[in-house]
Symmetry: C2
Subunit: 338 residues, 2 copies
């Protein structure tokens, strides 16, 4: 169960029996539209606010996952989720609609794997039969809260990233067929003194390296055990910084097997600066794109490392540096042949 200081090995292998992923117009025009279950043509989804639109997407992702499974919503023990909006209201209002007992989380863009790790721990410990685990974000709602309303048209430096509009969730079960959650390593807060809210990738890279190296050490494996190591939203900057840090720390990482959700969801030509970000980025890309590849037998073992920057607009005004965190969860098909 507990391996080393902060790695869990799930002996009862909780199973992902179904998934639900939702995206907006930018994601529909991106790299992996066929891997996203529901795509919307506008950012409003006929709602009065961007926050309500985000709530709708999280509800759709959950309802899609339930519809795709053979179970009823009333059988779901818990909904474990969070988002970036103040007091995570899109998630709490989703919990109200679902009517499922609810744990609200906040670890910024690392929330998806914070949720999956906790969900797997609860199921592995016989604390639930089925859990809905996921995260959401919305570009316009996030920009309005963290930077400027998008209508303001503020210019951004090339190190900035583009928040994904979407939601992704899994239905985790004690038994059934599907990819299994086999282990997790919980992140520590890592703060290298970065203060630029327009360079999240650079700030989060050390946290990703800290969690990945602890995972490999505590699980007693090396990076080649995984077909892919997938970071959440380091983007171009964070990816390069992390590769440098791996190299400096003597950790062998095959660059071809080290990918980033933020560099996967959008096409090369889309105006997304250093790449995608947002709590939905790792959720939509993992639960849509990479799990589809696993179901097609193209991947057997992946390590998903969601990365989060734990600042707030207020902490930036108060001249605090940006503390970051990364949580790693391994998902395995159970097969050894590709």
């Amino acid at each position: 169960m507990l391996m080393g200081h902060r790695t869990w090995l799930f002996g009862n292998s909780p199973v992902i029996i179904s998934t639900g992923t939702v995206g907006g117009p930018f994601e529909a025009n991106g790299n992996i539209p066929n891997d996203i279950d529901i795509l919307h043509e506008d950012m409003w989804l006929n709602q009065d606010s961007f926050e309500k639109a985000q709530q709708m997407m999280m509800e759709e992702a959950c309802q899609h996952a339930i519809k795709n499974s053979q179970i009823e919503k009333e059988q779901v023990s818990f909904f474990i989720s969070g988002d970036l909006i103040n007091q995570i209201t899109p998630t709490s209002f989703t919990a109200k609609t679902l009517g499922v007992p609810y744990f609200g989380l906040f670890n910024a863009c690392a929330t998806s794997m914070e949720s999956l790790a906790l969900s797997a721990m609860i199921i592995n410990g016989n604390g639930a039969n089925y859990i809905l685990s996921g995260a959401s974000s919305h570009n316009a709602a996030t920009e309005k809260q963290f930077r400027y309303p998008t209508e303001y048209g503020g210019q951004k430096p090339p190190t900035a990233q583009w928040t994904v509009t979407g939601a992704g969730c899994v239905l985790l079960a004690k038994e059934g067929t599907g990819p299994m959650v086999t282990s997790a390593t919980i992140g520590k807060v890592v703060d290298m003194g970065m203060t630029d809210p327009f360079n999240m990738g650079g700030a989060m890279a050390p946290a990703a390296v800290d969690t990945i190296s602890s995972h490999l050490r505590e699980r007693g494996i090396d990076a080649s055990y995984y077909d892919l190591i997938i970071t959440g939203d380091l983007g171009h900057i964070g990816r390069e910084v992390s590769l440098d840090l791996f190299h400096k720390n003597g950790i062998e990482i095959d660059e071809n097997k080290y990918v980033d959700c933020g560099l996967t969801i959008y096409r090369e030509g889309q105006p997304v600066l250093a790449g995608a970000s947002g709590a939905a980025c790792s959720a939509v890309v993992t639960y849509g794109h990479f799990l589809n590849k696993m179901k097609k037998g193209e991947l057997n073992r992946i390590l998903v490392v969601a990365t989060g920057a734990l600042h707030s607009p207020l902490s930036i005004y108060q001249k605090d540096p940006i503390p970051c965190i990364a949580h790693a969860v391994s998902i395995e098909s159970g097969s050894d042949t590709l």
Copy 2:
């Protein structure tokens, strides 16, 4: 383990081996100063901001709990906590100082018991040896964010409540001597259409009743099993509304054994309107006052039901009602004689 739909019975009885509680000047002048480990004379704690002062108090509570136990900080597996401030920055910066792997939570003033339930589940499932579990709040930081800066001197109706300035945490362990966490019931979001941000007690009462009645039903006991049923911060209004609802639902509750942390921490004469509130309220009063009574043999079995209002200033502006939640955790001494 899982009893009914959302109640956990912890067969391995995680143990509270030590606690740490901190308060400010209002709490020092309140009803239970002797039950609070560290009391501060001002709201600033020599910091540049109220948020930083809140962070200091959470750090002090954690360090006090560690100091009072026989273990080292490096043996603590996880820090599981949250607060009311946007992006829970006081908690995340505390996690950075502690250097302990971290799960960030948000369920408003229900966060303390959300954390204790998750911590007990993880320890019960052999996922950790020691966990720091707690919550914090700060009157001036919260007022500034949710209503008006206190310096503004805005008037409040009698239904309003006074946010506790403080922090409370426990060090939970697999074994050792101390009160045991024996069960937990996870709340659903309950929304009765209340829209007044100055009447949290009234809004949260239905959620408390929902969780308490589910707990009693799923655990197959009645209210008399507990020496006390303790709500987090319903205050005068919420307490009365909940008693009416219990009565309407045919649930027998002995009023003398049904208390509220929000009506415990301050003296009758203090200007706190309908009572105390805040994520620290249930943490400080439970981990200070009620656990001290348990250690003195005055209480054997208590059910702590932290209550949270899940709105944000933005959701109120957008005319949303206030969704609420309550999580219940039972703490027992293991003895049957008072």
